[in-house]
């Protein structure tokens, strides 16, 4: 399973997005606001989930803001951090 596929599965199952499936999440759709409709509480949960499932820490807002834009950006962040 690719990082993107795993991320989508985590988003749906761990954030309880019962009204959509992982396949319905578009790679470059915004995670927050008009995209998936996540909010600031989800952002906190997502930071923990990324650390738990990928062993990658999002240390602060400077790292988190660009990383948490979309599945694409988050997958790229995880790949980059995992490579270092």
């Amino acid at each position: 399973m690719s990082i993107k596929e795993k991320l989508k599965k985590i988003l749906v199952e761990e954030l309880n997005l019962e009204d959509m499936t992982p396949e319905e999440i578009v790679d470059d759709a915004p995670l927050f606001g008009d995209g998936l409709g996540l909010d600031s509480l989800d952002a906190v949960e997502l930071v923990v989930l990324v650390q738990k499932h990928f062993g990658v820490e999002i240390k602060d807002m400077d790292e988190g803001r660009p990383a948490l834009q979309s599945v694409n950006s988050l997958a790229a962040f995880i790949e980059a951090k995992s490579a270092t």
């Binding site: 309880n16 997005l17 019962e18 009204d19 509480l41 949960e45 923990v48 650390q51 738990k52």
Partner: protein, 357 residues
């Protein structure tokens, strides 16, 4: 204290949800309990339990809006919605509405789930959502947010005395004019850890609960919620709550011998044995715990049964299991009043008196 009028009743339990389901269960007799599944000491296990399904909540709130609401708070939210609907108050402003919720255990599934997440992944990876839902007042927060209740909000936890204690506070809020209406509710949930504990302490419940076998263990654990919309209008199709009090035994004879009582006797001898010391010979008694099981705030469902009885002018058929002890008689509504009574294992008791409105 001025009585509070019951304008709406919302219930959820093993019998289903809504007053019609409770009424039907009372008329036909209780369903057999379901099974609580859990893992203990490395192997799967299950036990009899009265489980409640909050799925009908989707009728009131979208899945997206409740995705962070756990089972415990869903039970509460469903009970609250049903009470408002029953009162015809699902719409309209709620700035004059106070919210008081009683719970004996709190959100046990989430609390133990949070602890599991700490054990499994360490505290840096513990779920913030699980933590925020694990606090006792999470249900009140979810109900207030979803129903846009902007009045005062309170959660009361005093184990078996939670219902009487919380209701006393609701009556005080109405009496002092703090709010013109109170949405009062009580909720408790079952979880695998509680099931495991019950099995360890008491063995497998065989059911059914025998409420009046006061010295024999017959408890079957349950879960559910009961909510009442209260105001100070003085009239109601469900009757009035005239008082809610707490006390401690020994006070034999304190309660009137010619009264009618609904006991929250649920098959725990350590609690049930105290009823003999509290209620005099000749008292009229009934118990309905076999419809919803044993849990700390089960008295709130007794309260709902009492409200239905006052509406209908008669108590539902009693469940005796065996002959009534202590010279007690089957309760009636001849005097137009009934008192819900609960006792805990330490000899504390809570009474709630209801009268025709």
């Amino acid at each position: 204290m001025k009585p509070a009028a019951i304008q709406g009743v919302g219930v959820v339990g093993a019998f289903g949800c809504g007053v019609a389901s409770l009424h039907e269960s009372l008329r036909r007799g209780p369903h057999p309990p379901g099974r609580l599944i859990f893992s203990a000491e490395g192997r799967g296990s299950s036990m009899a339990a009265y489980l409640a399904d909050p799925t009908p909540l989707e009728r009131f709130v979208s899945k997206r809006e409740t995705r962070r609401v756990d089972h415990f708070s869903r039970l509460a939210l469903l009970g609250a919605c049903l009470a408002l609907e029953d009162a015809g108050a699902l719409e309209g402003p709620r700035d004059d509405l106070g919210l008081i919720i009683a719970s004996g255990y709190g959100a046990t599934r989430t609390t133990f789930g949070f602890l599991d997440s700490v054990i499994a992944a360490g505290d840096p990876c513990a779920s913030p959502t699980l933590f925020s839902n694990s606090v006792h007042n999470a249900a009140a927060a979810h109900v207030a947010i979803q129903l846009r209740i902007t009045g005062p909000t309170l959660t009361v936890s005093q184990f078996g005395m939670s219902v009487a204690s919380a209701l006393a506070r609701a009556l005080a809020w109405l009496a002092e004019g703090r709010v013109s209406r109170v949405l009062f509710g009580a909720v408790d949930e079952l979880c695998p850890v509680l099931g495991y504990c019950h099995q360890r302490f008491f063995g497998d419940p065989s059911g059914p609960i025998a409420p009046f076998a006061l010295h024999r263990h017959s408890a079957v654990p349950g879960e559910g919620a009961a909510f009442l919309l209260l105001d100070g209008s003085g009239s109601s199709r469900y009757g009035l709550i005239a008082g809610a009090d707490l006390g401690r035994i020994p006070v034999r004879g304190q309660l009137p011998g010619n009264g009618s009582y609904i006991l929250n006797a649920a098959g725990h001898p350590s609690c049930s044995s105290h009823y003999s010391r509290l209620l005099p010979t000749g008292a009229g008694v009934a118990a309905f715990t076999p419809h919803y099981g044993s849990f700390p705030t089960g008295q709130a469902l007794d309260l709902a049964v009492a409200a239905l009885a006052l509406r209908d002018g008669q108590l539902p058929p009693g469940i005796w299991g065996e002959a009534l002890p202590n010279g007690w008689q089957p309760a009636t509504l001849e005097q137009g009043a009934v008192t819900c009574v609960t006792c805990d294992g330490d000899g504390y008791f809570g009474t709630i008196r209801l009268e025709r409105g």
